[in-house]
Amino acid sequence: MKKYVLIGPAIVLLLWIFFSVFKLANPLFLPSFFDAIASLFNLFRSENIFSHIWATLYKTLVGFLIAAVFGIPLGLLVGYYVKLYKSFEVVIDFFRSLPGTALFPLFLLIFGIGDGAKIATAVFVSVWIILINSAYGVLHSPKLRQKVATTFGASKLQIFYDVVIMDALPQVFIGLRTALSISLVVVIVSEMFIGSKFGLGQKIYDFYLTYETAKLYAILIITGLLGYLLNKLFLSIERKIVHWVGK
């Protein structure tokens, strides 16, 4: 199966080369693939690109971790106590429907112009994804296993830890993985629109501003690879923790 993995990227690359060689797109908007790759190497050679990658990665991970710390326990709690879920359903649905990026001005007022506002935006967007998935994990867990545990004399706390959480865990991880990707997206968008000294979003905006499209595509390649690697890394952690899923 592994040999098929490269087919999709190869088709995309061939299409890119085809479009640029036959000048089917304005080079201002779609540079040649080879120019973009040359720019990619130049960026690693001449610019402090690792500082930009780290700046984005740092904000993404901090935002994601804060969201996980709050989102998982709250989600499990809300899912376990149905009355609590019903009481807060409107509030949760209201806040998760708010576009996080629309809250930039508010977060700027609260956290200032440093990384705080960008991380807060990532937290705000990610926390609802994690919370909802954790709650759904509990809500949709099979009740039979809980009844069996009760029959065997397990306490409520034991049932919650050993049955409910274990059943909810696969869904919790789906939420975490989605939140990690979204967190990266939000951090990049906030770097582009708030402005910062370091960050991939800032570099994308800089090269957009100066019409250095090959460099812009080089940063997009880095960003895409970063998102892909984060996802792969998370999947491998997920497989180790929820190893029983799919078996």
Partner: protein, 335 residues
Amino acid sequence: MKNKALVLIILVFIVGTIIVYARPKKQGNNKQPELIELTFAENKIQPFPKVIAIAQQKGFFKDQGLEVKTVSFTSGKEALNAMLANGAQIAEVAETPLVFLGFTDQSVQIFANITEGYNNKILARKDRGINSHSDLKGKKIAAPKGTSAEFALNEFLRVNQMSMKDIEYTNLSPLAMPSALAKGGIDAYAIWEPHVNTGQKLLGNNAIVFPIETSVYENSFNYVAKKDWLNNNSEVVEKFLRAVINTETYITEHPDESLKISADYMGLDEEILKTFKDDYKIKIRLETKPLVELMGRVGTWINNQKPEAERKVLPDYRSQINGTFLKAVDPARIQ
């Protein structure tokens, strides 16, 4: 049965109404000459009064046989990009994005300037000890990177015997500036309206404004189009210019009405627009020499920010200005 009949009547009424209103209207003998369609890409906020909106509303384009549709963006650069991607034939843009573009693509030409006056200002906090130009030294000042506001700040500091090295420069988007200043994360920012007005409101009596006068830097708003399109559509360009010149006259004669139309179009409070309505005025003209000199200054500034190996030779900015059309319409407006 009664209900069914009622529903049927309502349905027949709705369908009938749709048919009547949806059918093409007969032109008969009053057939109007066909209008030439044109798409115009603009920054919805800058510059104002909104010449295009007024021309549309008052029929100045129709008088010239033009049907102008607008596509609006939040910056002139996006409007320029829309034109480059063939989403519009004419765009309205300041000189900075054009100079950036000029390093890689010289297919766009300016065929008229739109405004006269200054546009950028510096807004600062008095409680940070800023009461005069020189007090800005050592302060944390924001401007959006690569924009006319950053260049304006650079020029403002230069004429006041300072440089960007004398301040702590922070790159910040216009959206983020007022709250960042109010929160105290920065001491001042350089930007265009209405962002200065927004910051002033937040700061109240603590605000101090330094206008960047035209003697320091007069940024230009320009009508631009692709060279090929201009050369193949000289008649359309001249009609467009006649319409916007007529609009300029209307704006001069009816300032209040123009302001009202602009405020409605921009979705901004008329009272806010009044606070900076005198900063610049609409004047359709083309001053080649100062424009070439300005573009050269901006080009040098951009180049100097790059590593030496990446610096490029400045293009001949005269080739990016085309006065042929305005000369044909009103030679007095060409300098």
